[in-house]
Symmetry: C2
Subunit: 381 residues, 2 copies
């Protein structure tokens, strides 16, 4: 737990342990601990049943405390990070098994990554042959071995080398490098996570699994094993699990669930994975200009709107209709709101929302149980 003794309520921290949830200073990131724990158990159960490893993506929460819960209670074998500085923050906080699901090309960052491998198991993605030697040389300088996955473009259209022979050549180059170890394939299909229709989503992952399976097979023919075949997010993981190709799931959003993931449906029409909302931006009403319009204190600096506006939780007749820098406009279609009334918002997109805040206020029932720092907040280098 963080040392809160020097911190000032309402300036440094939004709450203090033991406080009633109604006293939390707003806007604040609030975690419903009971819901979080049920989400952890649910994903653990899924991975165990599927016989897969779970490597939870910490880019969602950037919190070493949540990462530790994912590993202790949630069945995760380690975590994923997206940036070197994010991984550094996690290693400093005691996490020692990290996959950086990204390319690292800048010489300073490559050196930092190799240095990190003196303190933790570090796996990194590679999508270009020119990256192999700089990584290997940095690892040699620091007397470590860095594990490397070949990232293939399995249909996502972002990073990743072409599947098939180019990926095989890259795998062989990694395997031949002095201080690298070829550890397998990274085959994450980001855009598929948000395809609303389950059949279309299944088709996108089936296509990704196809090219991945073909590449795994060619790599095996070339004499190498893929210890890790990783990918999958909260929107698609049942499909990757079913494919028989993947063996590591990299889901992140399942711990919290955001409004954007509520829009997509599972095959039975229900919510994907059955996860609950465990993360909220708590906001207060600060102005009631008309009977139909209220203004709250959470705007663009308290929640991310890239995937749509937040959903008002458990308050029928009230909708969040517009965000400006520090204000949210609420349409009141029924009932009434009071000045200073607290409202829970389900963020449209958890990951960039968490990155806006310094603290998670972890609440059980109506009481603040603890505060967790957003350990890697702003660690975007």
């Amino acid at each position: 737990m963080a040392d809160l003794s020097e911190l000032e309520l309402g300036y440094d921290v939004p709450a203090l342990p033991g406080m009633a949830s109604g006293e939390i200073q707003t806007p604040a990131l609030v975690v419903d601990l009971d819901a979080l724990e049920r989400n952890l158990a649910r994903m653990r159960g899924f991975a165990e049943t599927a016989g897969m490893r779970l490597r939870a993506h910490a880019k969602t929460h950037k919190s070493a405390d949540v990462a530790r819960l994912q590993m202790s209670q949630g069945g995760a074998c380690g975590i994923c990070c997206q940036k070197v500085s994010e991984a550094e923050a996690m290693v400093r906080a005691g996490i020692t098994d990290i996959l950086v699901t990204n390319e690292v090309r800048d010489p300073v960052k490559i050196d930092r990554l190799a240095r990190l491998a003196t303190r933790a198991r570090i796996i990194v993605c590679v999508d270009a042959p020119e990256n192999v030697e700089p990584l290997s040389q940095a690892a040699q300088r620091h007397g470590v071995t860095i594990e490397a996955l070949v990232e293939i473009d399995c249909g996502a259209g972002r990073c990743g080398i072409e599947p098939g022979p180019p990926a095989v050549r890259l795998a062989l180059a990694i395997a031949g490098a002095k201080a690298l170890r070829f550890a397998g394939l990274q085959a994450y299909h980001g855009p598929a996570q948000h395809i609303a229709d389950p059949a279309e989503r299944a088709a996108a992952i089936a296509a990704a699994a196809d090219v991945t399976a073909r590449t795994v097979s060619l790599i095996r023919d070339a004499g190498l094993d893929c210890d890790i075949v990783g990918g999958a997010g909260t929107g698609s993981f049942p499909f990757e699990a079913r494919s028989g190709v993947y063996n590591e799931l990299q889901c992140g959003s399942y711990v919290f669930m955001d409004a954007d993931y509520e829009k997509i449906r599972a095959e039975d029409g229900g919510r994907v994975g059955g996860f609950e909302n465990a993360l909220f931006v708590l906001t207060s009403v600060l102005s009631l200009p008309t009977r139909e319009r209220a203004v709250c204190d959470a705007g663009l600096k308290a929640l991310a709107v890239d995937s749509g506006l937040p959903r008002v939780f458990d308050k029928p007749g009230v909708r969040y209709t517009g965000a400006s820098d520090e204000h949210g406009v609420l349409a009141v279609d029924g009932g009434e709101l009071d000045i200073n009334e607290r409202i829970k918002l389900v963020p449209g997109h958890c990951d960039p929302t968490c990155n806006l805040h310094d603290w998670f206020v972890a609440v059980r029932g109506q009481t603040v149980e603890t505060l967790w720092p957003v350990t890697a907040r702003g660690k975007v280098f």
Copy 2:
């Protein structure tokens, strides 16, 4: 200047003074000091010619260093903040004349605001009679006087009491409260800032100025003076200046200019106010999967996209076409990009972009001159 001696390059800070700009660790917020200084001089000249006070809005940059430049070089009489904690951060950094352009209703925040008034001139907005007594009592507890503006809804449809008689009654209530001083009117029209067509924008501000003038006149009839009639943003300030009603301009974005403000035009068809791009998100290329597609390291956690994607600066043939959490996809229509090549992005919206970062890297020419902390980063309470 911040003490940088304990800070680690690439983890705590993106750059160090004296460094060449090509060595800055990315993504990073970069300020072009020459452009910034020209923007400061331009706005100072405008306000002096118009005979108006400038009270620069610090919500744009959240930086005490930029605020100090606005007051020392830029002709500002003080600054605006949007939240109590933002004002606290600025007072702690030595700024002593602050208007909180917002309602403060939470009892803890009201108390903090009154405490702040023991160290600085504090002005706050009020849009409801029920707010008067709590503010006055807090001011009495701390032995201070708080100045209060009546915020009217001049067409923006966010906070603000109805102009005319309701505003007059509120002004009288403030004037009658023991520890408050009635200081005038807040009449800011936010949505008007972003109306692309200058004639429509002029009409919106003309309507706002009309109801404001009428309210000022009624308040005078009731025996009170409006020392401050404040409002105006970077998109509209020439219209407020011309109205003869306003006497304080609250522009913020003019210091940096963002891509969203580039879309709107001045009456002569040129850029509003003639301000230059002085703020960039510097990013690096980390993957080149195809000849037409590059991937850079600045995504949703390094830049805000609420007002559109960033514009690529000074690099014809390259467009930023998609943001995910930590990646940006670049379409390369002509020419070539190299791995690790630095690209300057003009953020769609400066205010929430600055709030994502811990540091401004202040560059003159090709050299890092200094670093400024984003003093009030995350101060959203």
